[in-house]
């Protein structure tokens, strides 16, 4: 019984009020139980679509694990991932249409890859090499991809929310029926921009889908320190924006909630705030040591609620997904990873002159002077 898994998890010691049994509340959209059985209205995906989603989630997990490894080996400087949150990231991306815009927070590389960002491009960004779109100017996991209408990742919290609202507003002013989805964590609901974005979106009825990945943590600060509200979804009420909660570890529930929100927005009915109840299995990033604030025992029950595990169990039951199928995909992804990492690592660093490009459309005199100064001056010691 699904509820047993949640109930067992609930008895474990927890320092956070984000508890596994939160998803059992009546208002939470649920479709797939932790053991892979259908308990809610099926979004009606074909077998091929489910396999596509599962493959994307698995690929995201494997990319994540490899990126952490590369950081631990000192081959890249940093990684921030989505371990445990793959159903939220991929389910929302899956529910979008090609024409829609996606504004990432910084854990959504899986969604970007799903929307067509080449894996090579992603790893070029992780290595900050000459082929990196950001030309090594940003930390790893801070990419952009205009071709696929993927925004540009930045580190400040919440800023992308208001911008995504502006994109949807501009599209509305131009009569273009597209939707802008934007991601943020539970911590971002405390930011100015959460208020700005939801408030403007409510007033102008913009075609936005606001996705709160409630993963229980903002670095070391648990959810209950972000708000005294019962839920984050209910904050939408104050802005005239409907809020819905879904089991963020249940990809079918995420697809269902997002599809409904996209359809609403596309029909001109305005924005929706989705609170996806998930859990950050890793630290905040490779720079974080969660053992300083979170006992390992708290994480254990969440392993049983792993979004990949339950979709795999579903596939086993639905189409007889086998260990061999699993191994085949893992091998494909590992092969792909080996290839792109090899290329990314061998690609040179961005040229010195690139430091001054793109500050402005054209190079002004003071940057030209500084560019010449850098070129003629002594070089920094190697190694970073």
């Amino acid at each position: 019984m699904t509820t047993d898994v949640h109930a067992t998890a609930a008895t474990a010691r927890s320092t956070s009020q984000r508890k596994p049994e939160d998803v059992l509340a009546d208002d939470v959209v649920r479709v797939l139980s932790p053991d892979g059985t259908l308990i809610g209205e099926d979004p009606g995906l074909t077998d091929e679509e489910v396999v596509l989603l599962y493959r994307a989630m698995l690929r995201t997990r494997l990319v994540d694990e490899r990126a952490v490894l590369l950081q631990r080996q000192g081959r890249i400087g940093f990684h921030i991932g989505s371990l445990g949150e793959e159903a939220t990231v991929l389910g929302t991306a899956f529910a979008l249409r090609e024409s829609d815009w996606m504004f990432p927070c910084y854990r959504e590389f899986g969604g970007a890859l799903f929307r067509g960002m080449p894996l090579q491009r992603y790893f070029d960004n992780l290595f900050g090499n000459a082929n990196d779109v950001a030309k090594g100017r940003q930390m790893p996991d801070h990419w952009s991809y205009r071709d696929k209408r993927l925004g540009s990742v930045s580190s400040p919290i919440g800023t992308q929310m208001t911008q995504a609202m502006g994109v949807a507003w501009a599209a509305k002013l131009r009569g273009d029926p597209l939707v802008a989805i934007v991601y943020f964590g539970d911590g971002a609901t405390s930011s100015n921009e959460f208020h700005n974005a939801l408030n403007f979106a409510g007033v102008y009825r913009t075609a936005n889908v606001f996705v709160c990945r409630n993963n229980g943590w903002a670095i070391s600060v648990p959810t209950e320190r972000q708000t005294a509200s019962d839920t984050f979804a209910q904050k939408g009420v104050a802005y005239g924006v409907p809020g819905v909660r879904c089991d963020g570890n249940d990809v079918f529930a995420v697809v269902r909630a997002t599809r409904a929100a996209v359809a609403r927005a596309a029909a001109g009915e305005g924005p929706t705030l989705i609170e996806a109840l998930t859990y950050r299995l890793s630290g905040h990033s490779t720079s974080d040591d969660p053992s300083r604030y979170r006992p390992e025992a708290e994480v254990d029950p969440w392993q049983a609620l792993d979004p990949l595990r339950r979709l795999r169990l579903f596939l086993q039951d639905r189409i007889g997904w086998s260990d061999a199928d699993q191994a085949r995909i893992e091998a494909e992804v590992q092969e792909e990873l080996k290839r792109v990492i090899d290329v990314a690592e061998k690609t040179s660093a961005p040229p010195l002159t690139s430091l001054f490009d793109d500050v402005y459309a054209d190079l002004p005199w003071h940057l030209r002077e500084q560019q010449e100064e850098l070129a003629l001056g002594p070089r920094a010691p190697k190694g970073h």
């Binding site: 952009s144 400040p156 208001t162 131009r174 402005y360």
Partner: protein
């Protein structure tokens, strides 16, 4: 040519560009029906409708964040911040996002927009309707900063700014919004960004100013002429990127320089200008460069004319520099 004040000239530029380019949208607090608290956008709401002249909720961060999204989508937003004193809730969006968008996306997302905002004192506005925060934007890589002093320049520079491909802070000196009158060419013309103007040629002392203080600098130059001192007055017009050639060319000629601005002194634009002069024209200097500026205090209400670097403070600085 028509006689206009600066409010009318800016309004003329906005109307002209909105007719020419349907991507241009105005947004801000009270810019619509009422036409802005200074009436700069008067009549545009009736002419272009509520989808292009947009009254927004009262949140500067929301206005600029929205404008960034609009710019990314391909519009040419011209957001207004009602007073530059109120721009700081939007500072995160401007500094962390707007200024860095092109750079951090390797050119994928240039983010052109013009943030119009009244600047400076002289209207008895106290702390929060008088400040001059331009240096706080010059210090941020990726922004251009413009501050016209005359109606004709205001129109020509605004048209250039809206057509520019970089984000621009367009500071409008509200002390002379209506006091500055002049001939403004009709129709379309531009004043290039990055070009200062020598508004009073002279041989003995260079006086650099901009915005409302240009008029004080000119007044001081006339008074100094009465004492036999021939000043050259430069109106910067674009604060950043600075027209370094015009400034250095003048200082190499005169060997003496006074830089004037309302903003507080320490780390103000005058500090940068004096440093550049020291770096590029040190051996031409006949006297230490001088700054005549606002003080390093919050902007005062009752004593505002003591705070501002008006002509009565500029004249002695010119004389001292000339007689050094």
């Amino acid at each position: 040519m028509a006689q206009m004040n600066m409010v009318q000239a800016i309004n003329d530029a906005l109307r002209l560009e909105m007719k020419r380019d349907d991507r241009v949208v105005l947004l801000g607090e009270d810019v619509g029906k009422v036409g802005g608290v200074f009436r700069v956008t008067a009549g545009l709401y009736d002419e272009f409708g509520e989808d292009r002249v947009i009254d927004t909720p009262l949140s500067e961060g929301g206005i600029i964040g929205a404008a960034i999204g609009m710019s990314i989508y391909g519009l040419r937003p011209v957001p207004e911040i009602q007073f530059s004193d109120f721009i700081f809730p939007a500072y995160d969006q401007i500094v962390s996002e707007l200024a860095k968008y092109r750079y951090r996306s390797g050119g994928e997302y240039p983010c052109p927009m013009v943030i119009r905002t009244p600047v400076g004192g002289g209207i008895r506005g106290g702390h929060y309707h008088s400040q001059s925060p331009e240096a706080q934007f010059i210090h941020v890589a990726g922004l251009k900063v413009v501050c016209p002093a005359t109606p004709a320049d205001a129109k020509g520079l605004l048209l250039s700014s809206i057509r520019d491909n970089d984000p621009i802070l367009f500071f409008e000196p509200k002390r002379v919004y209506r006091a500055a009158k002049g001939e403004v060419p009709e129709g379309d013309y531009t004043v290039p960004i990055g070009q200062a103007k020598i508004v009073r040629p002279g041989e003995q002392v260079t006086v650099v100013a901009y915005g409302a203080m240009l008029y004080e600098a000119l007044d001081a130059a006339n008074k100094a002429a009465g004492q036999g001192i021939d000043c050259e007055v430069i109106d910067l017009r674009t604060l950043w990127p600075l027209d370094i050639d015009t400034v250095i060319g003048s200082v190499k000629k005169t060997g003496r320089v006074v830089v004037v601005h309302e903003a507080p002194r320490s780390c103000g634009l005058a500090s940068e200008i004096v440093t550049l002069i020291n770096e590029k024209a040190f051996l031409h200097l006949e006297a230490p460069p001088k700054r005549v500026t606002g003080f390093d205090t919050p902007f005062p209400y009752t004593l505002e004319n003591e705070y501002l670097p008006l002509s009565h403070r500029i004249v002695p600085a010119i004389v001292e520099t000339a007689r050094y």
